[in-house]
Subunit: 247 residues, 2 copies
């Protein structure tokens, strides 16, 4: 639990996997494309989604290690996507169709508890994403899904991808707070470990379904002592942060 | 009106004077402080508010001309405030009281048409402030007053105050749009002229009461041809941008 002598003022959230279910969303968008192209595109979209996400860390890594200059997630996703379409034998898509598929990541749905939990937290804390997704992507996503952020923070504003320290500290600076007044919320330990290293408070939220139902069985939750809070979902997070329901 | 061949995607708004009534807000906060200190602080708060705002452009100017390094509006307001308290003969305030008064600018109320107009625009456009107020100030203001922004943009993100070109172009870049897809909305011609110079579309909204009822009579509205849109208020702006009411 939060130490009583340091009052957290803002909660910043990882998004892909933590707030939204990227896997189901990408599968749905792929299947839609399949129907729109009259069955000319036949793909196992679950494998496609997993393969796309597998390229995520390596592609961030190329920016983080300075191999390629900063570019936003649309650009990185598009680079991976071109290769994947080849690999999965998808042919004949128009550029507009490829771009629409690329922007599936703007059109992901929140986990069912995400908006209820955020709505309870919002009267008590400043709430913002702090994602490797760029501001425009996060804005589109929030507008479409009704995610009630107070503002949109992103690694983009630092020109560094998480888990680079700059991503966290730029967000803290824009919030005009000390790092220990800000709590990072994520379903990924690497993100939280880097946040703690940068001086932020940390809350883990368990998302066993992130990699699909088959992977859920082996998804392990860290010990309660591993982070300031270890929560089962966003409503549980609100309970633990003492943000009571007003109904 | 908007030229039919360029579709505006995002509207960015000046805030002090355009969205919120800073003068009434500062007067109210000053009077509150007067009551809280049992009449020990007797000030003509209208004159005080006007004097505070008069220091605004010169104090931005010192940053814009490189006389002093970047600092946010809380810092600039506080510097002016110290001088003004002296000038108005206010003594004996605690540091916490001075700081609370300084943050009056976080607690300003929107003009009555602002939220109704923004609520009509929001389903059709990305809406954001683009103020010289820093992100934290704008976030606090929106949270307190329920201003339904999609995201919070600020000159702060560029490290340059409006009307420096960087303030506009950084916002456009974060929106991931071409400048002519973004419309600046303001009650101030200097802001709009600089926006147009930077390639943005422009909408003027008339706020004759910004400097108080006495100044209202001499407040002049520019010709309809001066900007892409010249509107009477935010609801009129929504009408002209073809954002019909859904009730």
């Amino acid at each position: 639990m939060t130490a009583p002598d340091v009052e957290v003022k803002a909660l910043v959230f990882d998004v892909f996997g933590t707030v939204v279910d990227w896997r189901s969303g990408v599968i749905r968008e792929g299947e839609k494309l399949g129907r729109a192209t009259d069955g000319n595109v036949e793909v196992d979209w679950a494998s496609f989604a997993d393969a796309w996400r597998e390229e995520y860390q390596p592609s961030l890594g190329r920016v983080r290690q300075g191999e390629i200059p900063w570019r936003n997630l649309d650009a990185l996703h598009r680079e991976s996507l071109e290769g994947l379409l080849d690999r999965f034998g998808v042919e004949g898509l128009t550029d507009a169709e490829i771009e629409h598929l690329n922007r599936s990541w703007h059109r992901l749905d929140p986990w069912p508890d995400a908006i209820p939990g955020l709505s309870r937290l919002k009267p008590h804390y400043v709430i913002s994403p702090l994602s490797n997704g760029h501001v425009r992507l996060l804005t589109n996503m929030a507008k479409r899904a009704g995610i009630p952020w107070d503002l949109i923070l992103s690694a983009e504003l630092s020109g560094h991808y998480k888990p680079d320290e700059e991503a966290y500290l730029t967000a803290v600076d824009i919030l005009d707070l000390e790092p220990d007044r800000v709590m990072m919320v994520a379903a990924h330990e690497g993100d939280l470990d880097a946040s703690r290293e940068a001086g932020l408070r940390t809350a883990y939220v368990h998302r066993p379904l992130e990699y699909g139902p088959e992977a859920a069985e082996s998804a392990e939750k860290p010990d309660d002592s591993a982070y300031d809070i270890v929560a089962d979902d966003f409503v549980d997070l609100a309970e633990r942060l003492d943000a009571p329901s007003i109904v």
